[in-house]
């Protein structure tokens, strides 16, 4: 069944004629060509498909496109503003918070969401906040360092 779904995607209004039951993940990756959001498990365990929904980290594989009607979605492609990387992106680069890079978009968005709601987390709170995002390469140590650096850099500004 085709619905008309309007929402905000990376700061721009989007109107799609689409079956409202389709998963946001696949609509992003195919219809909208935004391949930065990754498929990892399809069941919400791993966090590779994390996007921001009204600023909160959310699993796009479990979201139906009709669930985001009139909401605001940010994918990894929309995080940098005016060609300037988000401090979290810079911190991941500077602290080598990535290896194969496949989990990285989800990691960065989960971390941005974490700081949004807890701007100065302890190491334990970072671990808790990131626990459901998996990295198989074992970059966790550097990811925690990157999040700490970004938190210091942002000082609660976003």
């Amino acid at each position: 069944m085709t619905d008309t779904i309007s929402f905000k995607l990376n700061d721009k209004p989007v109107r799609l004629k689409v079956d409202g039951d389709r998963p946001l993940l696949w609509v992003l990756r195919t219809d909208l060509g935004l391949t930065g959001t990754k498929y990892g498990c399809g069941e919400g365990h791993c966090g590779s498909c994390t996007v921001l929904l009204n600023q909160r980290a959310t699993r796009s594989c479990l979201l139906k496109i009709k669930d985001i009607k009139d909401k605001e979605v940010v994918t990894i492609e929309g995080l940098a503003k005016d060609g300037k990387l988000h401090p979290m992106q810079k911190a991941f680069m500077e602290h080598d918070g990535l290896q194969c890079g496949y989990c990285t978009p989800g990691m960065i968005l989960a971390a941005v969401s974490l700081l949004k709601f807890n701007p100065q987390p302890t190491e334990q709170q970072i671990n808790q906040g990131m626990e459901q995002n998996f990295c198989r390469c074992g970059a966790q140590t550097r990811i925690v360092q990157a999040i700490q650096a970004a938190a210091a850099e942002m000082k609660g500004s976003r």
Binding site: W26, T30, T75, C100, C135, C137, G138
Partner: protein
Amino acid sequence: MNTNDYLAANFRDIHGFEDFYTQSRREFFKRTGGGILVFIALNDLLFGQEEAGRPRGGRPGLPSDFNAFLRIGEDGRVTCFTGKIEMGQGPITSLPQMLAEELETPLDTVDIVMGDTDLCPWDMGTFGSMTTRMFGPALQAAAAEAKVVLLELAAEALKVPQAQLVAKDGVIFDPQNPKSRMTYGQLAKGQKIERHLQTKPALKDPTRYKIAGQPHTRRDAEVKVTGKALYSADIRVPGMLYARILRPPAHGAKLKSVDTAPAREIAGVQVVQDGDLVAVLHEFPDVAETALGKIKAEFDVPEATVDDKNIFDHLLSVAPAANVLNQGGDLDDGKKLAAKKFESTYLNSYVAHSAMETHAALAQIEGDKATVWASTQNPFGARDQIAQAIGLPAEKIRVITPFVGGGFGGKTNNAEAVEAARLAKAVGKPVHVMWTREEEFFFDTFRPAAVVKINSGVDGSGKMAFWDYDVFFAGDRGAQQFYTVPNHRTAAHGGGWGGTKGSHPLATGAWRAPGNNTNTFARESQIDIMAAGAGFDPVVFRLNNLSDARMVRVLKAAAEHFGWTPAKAPSKRGYGVSCGIDAGTYVAAIAEVAVDAARGTVQVKRVVCAQDMGVVINPEGAKIQMEGCITMGLGYALTEEVHFKGGRVLDTNYDTYEIPRFSWVPKIETVLIKNNATAPQGGGEPAIILMGALIANAIHDATGARLFQLPMMPDRVKAAIQKV
């Protein structure tokens, strides 16, 4: 141009290379506008091991016998073409570092194109920690040779004796007359020079390294933090369809009947049935998924009696005879000499690779040429498999390897690339195949389940008296012990994977440091058992029985950095030690764990790891790989085990198959031993071999309980504690 840029550019600006292999080389130079090309063969004479005895090249018009080349263009840019791939381990950064260092050119003038079978010379694949260790020196040699060519050209152009000239930062100049200078680009202009390396040129002394040996931001970092990095599943071509494939419920099951009519009722769905390959295709992957769910299929499922409980008895019952790898002295003499004897059996289960990126490929067939983008560790192997499957000659298949989202040895089978190519041929449109996580768990080439049996003994003074070692189905990598023991025998039953017919009920393959995780778990556990039995501190016991200077140094470095104070285990401190050798690299680690005896859970609090990998090209990259090994190794040590019964894989996703998470990760401290006397050795695998015994020994130190089976799940830990 770097891999991602050239993928994004859709190859427009490098089409000059496209016909390289089918045109004469004169034609090739005409197209590329010339420059300086250096070809290198990784043959036995020059570089030893990697590709000896393997077929090379094999394309028409291909300069024979080379495996890599670099080109200096008229714009002064240097490009390395390599069949190696980037899956997170960092060669996209470390190889240009090695090249820039030897060629005396700024790092940002060096480009690298990886894993494209039309542009890059033949390569056996990216595994075995061989990229830096074996391909690296070849690349350095090519760079050194290119520098010689540049010096020759400059001597002629500047009318200055070659010996008087200096190469630095992409310029050759005469120090006595600084105006007498030419850039590499100026020197390459109008040239059509081709060199084939015949002898190994003198390489730079590592103590003079300025670019190598230094940390550099990963070249792929920016594209990976912005979502621009392209993986195989991210490639889009016009008219492509997404496929979902009908799968059997169990290994060995055969399709009995299938009704695809209900799937065809969904608008836009195409169904392919090509023998056992039944697939539904649609312009959206999720619609293909829905359509697949509508197919009605019946399978004959053969009775399978081997499961994850009886697998070890099964393996021992079908094990081939011993292949003795090494022996010396006399075991009977050793047994007489021994004051204490120890007999143990060690087990480990099947473990999944579980890269975050599932296997994915996109195949496009145009006329008699196929292009396949695949997440593979061996693009040339994929090319040959695809050629066979769709009946085109290999030179008509181009495999392009975008970024690979983790491999760990699990992306060498290329089944998904073959499936995409077969389906593209069947429907006449480009076809995208991406396995679901469930397919990934079903079709993985698991780390083999394995058994190790050790008989050993120690004399009255704490010296090892004998060592009798049999490994079943893990293979010989890391099997040979390195302690000083007068009477010893080491034997392997069955190879590292694949096993023998009727052995493994699941597909098996290389898994990060294949075999060595199993062998090091067994060996280092047994060493600890001997140390405790003889009343020695485990570090002191090891040092008493070691004479290999590199191992002594690396173990002492770990102990010193950790702040080790000797005590007989179990000391209740929860400290464990383990050491080993992999890919030419020596590693030792010490860990501290906390055990919750009531729950059987283990928290690893701290790991100190020292590593001697010879010359270090990218020290930060090396430390990151060590951290990755330690973190990933927590999984096979503590939780990762593939459950199966009746040919069915019972773990289908991360709800039951637990991989390491943030809260598990200990404080990791890494120490790199300075050793410029040894050429660069492997870095992506060694430290992971330590993790089984490291944690087992620390659990024993904390509780007195000895674990003989990996993974050390809570129920196994509790059971072992109850036996104390």
